[in-house]
């Protein structure tokens, strides 16, 4: 399933880039993160409990940075394992300057394998859309925080 969009962020590109490339700040964006561990600058791991209302879906997600061209482009791969579900996601973003603001074109290819992927088709897309919405909302907040801290 591919989701994509463009998000305007009210901060200079450098600030946005820093937020997006700091694993610790990234962790704050993700839903249901219970613990977070950085292995090296290209690899990190998160244990999450994706909130699904009826009880969270626990997953361990390994992240790997695939490509980056500071300060405009990066791509990232995430592989998650949990009982009943396997998550494979590649995501990328491209930042461009829009005056004082930054425009972020993003895309994510999300694949969920396993029984949950097979069962939950009709609910997964809305869930993914919604989680993406949450992440973008959190990103906005995090960028504002970073901007405020930097200024």
């Amino acid at each position: 399933m591919r989701v994509e969009g463009t998000k305007e962020l009210d901060a200079p590109r450098a600030v946005v880039w820093t937020v997006l490339n700091d694993p610790a700040q990234m962790a704050a964006l993700m839903p249901g993160v219970e613990s977070f561990q950085v292995s090296d600058e290209r690899h990190w791991q998160a244990k999450v409990k994706i909130p699904l209302g009826l009880g969270g879906l626990k997953m361990t997600i390994d992240f790997e940075k695939l490509e980056e061209t500071p300060p405009e482009f990066a791509s990232l791969q995430a592989k998650g394992t949990g009982v009943g579900a396997l998550l494979n996601m590649t995501t990328e973003f491209r930042l461009s300057e829009a005056g004082e603001k930054t425009s972020m074109a993003w895309a994510a290819d999300v694949r969920i394998a396993g029984p949950v992927g097979s069962m939950g088709q009709r609910v997964l897309q809305p869930i993914v859309n919604q989680q993406v919405g949450n992440v973008l909302g959190a990103l906005d907040a995090q960028v504002q925080k970073a901007k405020a801290a930097g200024s």
């Binding site: 209302g53 029984p115 949950v116 069962m119 009709r122």
Partner: protein, 285 residues
């Protein structure tokens, strides 16, 4: 088919239920269980504690508030609602829709509270209750709050009911003279799961339209509502619905592409509004 280990409690009072929900991280209220048990069988979700509401008789009542709202306890079963004379008088569309939910066995166990709290995008009651401008009473140790339908549904399996809270009742405005409600949609098989649906409620020359199965939560067709402006002629309704599909970002699955869902949402909205208006004119809902 086989659940993960789970702890179970069966409280005798609402207060006790709320205490149990608050005291146990990962606790879920168990109402009819017609979705929750299934999700647990798949081990797609695994609450650590189930708080069974089965003995809470006070949540099984159907009645009226002092201001004339129809009040449905969270544990009112769909079958109970379908057979209720109060519902038949106050808001018959609830029974009409209830009678098409799943099957008789599920209607005998499934509850209105469970149906709305699950908020599966294909569930019948969430869009209906949005169209009917229902309110939801949520209780916690710190008291009671009332949430309007437009703010109740937050996501798939997610509602305004937070940890340590319990939905105790759903309140629906009783129908006014010259009002009409209707649901239209396309299902997988007859009386099956919805692929897309729309509910319309016409009253006082205005209309509320809510779409189901097109997003994580019911979607109000506000532009269409505004465009109608009291004219419920077929041409006006069709004109008002035009472009509605294009505003949606529905899921695509084995039963329907996103495009087909957009189309069905539009067709369903037209049909629901026309039928609701017809019923309003005829004085029946």
């Amino acid at each position: 088919m086989l659940l993960r280990e789970v702890e179970y409690a069966c409280p005798d009072t609402v207060e006790e239920a709320i205490d149990l929900l608050a005291a146990n991280d990962g606790a879920r209220a168990l109402a009819g269980g017609q979705t929750l048990i299934n999700v647990m069988k798949a081990r797609a979700a695994a609450p650590e504690v189930l708080v069974d509401l089965g003995r809470l008789a006070e949540l099984r009542t159907i009645g009226f508030s002092s201001d004339g709202m129809l009040e449905l306890g969270t544990m009112v079963t769909t079958a109970q609602l379908v057979a209720s004379s109060e519902v038949d008088v106050a808001r018959p569309v609830l029974a009409e829709v209830g009678a098409t939910i799943a099957d008789q066995q599920v209607r005998n166990r499934g509850t209105i509270g469970g149906n709305v709290c699950v908020n599966d995008p294909t569930n019948h009651f969430p869009p209906l209750l949005v169209a009917l401008a229902a309110t939801f009473t949520i209780r916690s140790a710190s008291g009671e709050r009332v949430v309007p339908a437009d703010e109740f549904f937050l996501g798939v399996y997610l509602t305004a009911v937070g940890p340590g809270e319990l939905l105790t009742k759903v309140s629906v405005p009783t129908r006014k003279p010259d009002s009409g409600d209707a649901i239209a949609g396309v299902t997988i098989g007859r009386h099956g799961t919805y692929i897309a649906n729309a509910t319309a409620s016409v009253a006082d020359g205005g209309v509320r339209v809510a779409l189901g199965c097109v997003d994580a939560v019911p979607v109000r067709a506000t532009a269409m509502e505004a465009a109608l402006d009291g004219d419920f002629s077929e041409s006006a309704v069709r004109a008002a619905a035009e472009g509605l599909g294009a505003t949606l970002d529905p899921p695509s699955d084995v039963h329907a592409s996103a495009d087909y869902r957009r189309h069905l949402a539009e067709v369903s909205a037209v049909r629901a509004v026309l039928q609701a208006a017809e019923r309003a004119k005829a004085g029946v809902t």
